[in-house]
Symmetry: C2
Subunit: 417 residues, 2 copies
Amino acid sequence: MNTSVPSSLTLDGTPMIEQLRQLGELGADREAGGRTRIALTDDERAGRDLVVRWMRELDLDVRVDRIGNIFGTLRSDDDGSQRPLMMGSHIDTVKSAGALEGCYGVLAGLAVVRAFRQAGIGPQRSITIGVFTNEEGIRYQPDMMGSLVYAGGLSVDAALNTIGIDGTRLGDELVRIGYAGDLEPRAIVPHEYLELHIEQGPILEAENICIGVVENLQGISWQQITVEGNANHAGTTPTRLRHDAGWAAAAVSTFLRELAVTTGTTLATIGMLRIEPNVINVIPSKAVFTVDLRDPDEQRLQDAERRLAEFLEEVAEKEGVKITNERLVRFEPVVFDAGLADAIEASAERMGFTHRRMTSGAGHDAQMIARIAPAAMIFVPSRGGISHNPREHTDDDQLIDGANVLLDVVLQLLAAK
Amino acid sequence: MNTSVPSSLTLDGTPMIEQLRQLGELGADREAGGRTRIALTDDERAGRDLVVRWMRELDLDVRVDRIGNIFGTLRSDDDGSQRPLMMGSHIDTVKSAGALEGCYGVLAGLAVVRAFRQAGIGPQRSITIGVFTNEEGIRYQPDMMGSLVYAGGLSVDAALNTIGIDGTRLGDELVRIGYAGDLEPRAIVPHEYLELHIEQGPILEAENICIGVVENLQGISWQQITVEGNANHAGTTPTRLRHDAGWAAAAVSTFLRELAVTTGTTLATIGMLRIEPNVINVIPSKAVFTVDLRDPDEQRLQDAERRLAEFLEEVAEKEGVKITNERLVRFEPVVFDAGLADAIEASAERMGFTHRRMTSGAGHDAQMIARIAPAAMIFVPSRGGISHNPREHTDDDQLIDGANVLLDVVLQLLAAK
């Protein structure tokens, strides 16, 4: 095998597009038009089996760790002396998902490896394609679990003992589907990690830009807030005597919008909300809702949390309601590796693609891997910013462009060995 | 029978309190602690049977009209020459209701009649106790149906053909429970109508007042509002690109609170609200909620409706969402008979009870009867203003005080024959 440094390789986009289509058929919801491949279900096992088959067709060394992460490695001749370059993402989905999210990063990694195979040359360092378990966190919490365990943020045993929303134990389901591997997580630690992903947001499309150079990832703060007031008659209770849990929730929503607009960087969303007793002529006695706060800067994220907490106190006092909150998820912002971001930008520039630096609004496995290795991400546009939805779409050409940038970055990184 | 005008009669509160207790046991929810006696169910039939038995024990002439309203009449000697004095209310309930609402007005009417029976004297004019069908409107819409039909606001046939939330036809259920009478509604038209009721609001208790002289009843405007936006990712969608249906609903809620505070007379409540897809990290694509607006003045109620409509247009424009609304219920304010209100006030004053003029915030059968006869209401305090709830409570003494005022008013009205 020729291991000389290739100045370029040719990436064949066709098999990648075809594999995205084939993988997208597993778990298909014929009615809703999407696919549902929740982690560790039979449908997701079928997806794993297919990806592993494709890895074996490329003659990769396939290994599975104890949390079910799959690693397919194209070995270099001097394997063992150096850490591999890793690319990857996940293949589990939300309910009624698109075909791209996660899968694209995995299958583009395979496309890069295929370019080496088709050219008949080996990489200067080993290349590993990682498929991380349970990124979506639909059935088992927390999300990004496989990469979190891999990066040492959660013990394997704790993860295996997670009980899902269907009452199953994660470890049992891993055994059931045949993906309880024996590799210790982090037996393979990458030299660097690249994740190619659709943006899942509207910015690249709105600005007509091909490539997003993702230099950081927002911090995420999720809390559930419960307001307890009094259920009184809508027709007989003077406004001043009301303890309206529904109004309190609304006041929080409009406050958060103002906060988002005035800061300019913080995003704030109330995605879930229910009120009780939910009767037309009864003042709500209870409101339970979630707040999703994000900011690329930890200090600003903390400011937003503090201002929200102060506002909750004000509202509780003003309306005579009791407000409690529970933290659900908290991730600090992640700054990706500056050298990797520079390399991505340089590749996009060299290849003549429009590009921009950007922040990832969503969470990704890359943020976990960034704890143990330099990491960065490459984004391609998402039509309408729509994701987690059957209407998720990126043009084939754009997907292939992204994979070509990924290949070019890989070549530059290997050349700089 | 002695038909001379009594200057006073003695009301025995004990049987009334005992009957409230007995009636309250029918349809009891042992777990929730309340009772559920939805119109025309088996449990409500049991309530009707019990009240009719009590009417017969007082030797009243019991008749049932085609919509199931029950009338028990204590005849005067010259019956037929003059219209009767009518008192009444309803005995159907919401789910998990208190024991007082509606039942109190019916059973206090029986207590007044009992005072005549126990004194062995007949009234100068006939006295009729009315029990109106389906005041609550839980199973069949609209609410206050029996009195609405009785007052000519809805045809008997339309009412009988109403299909309930359980798919049943009201007329069939009336036949099934044995209360499809043959009396034409309005065969008995009252000379005047009095309804004694718990306040279902906090005002009398807060001001430590015994008797509410209800001189008018708020207009009611119910609408259902639907906001349609876009479900985008909470982490990747910049605030300026959001079409957040949940935020739009919240903005309406805070707007309505401001409107209520600034007008001072309009009450505004969002009692029902749901958002879709109701996922923590997805911007709501849809919000459906109800708005309950009330004001004692029709012009001000119309102003509130107009200002809401204008605000909905502003929000739709600002957020890029589609807002539609559907009118559910609209009743104009009702001004009760001034002479009757004066009579109630005079009785309360003469009997040494603290009293105040007030507006009914809730809808009552009296507002329908007011279309065809002079009508007014008497309120007694509700603890905490709580109603439509197992915790609904008024002290026995307060209930008996109210019945005594009712008797005194009846005596004054009959004396003024």
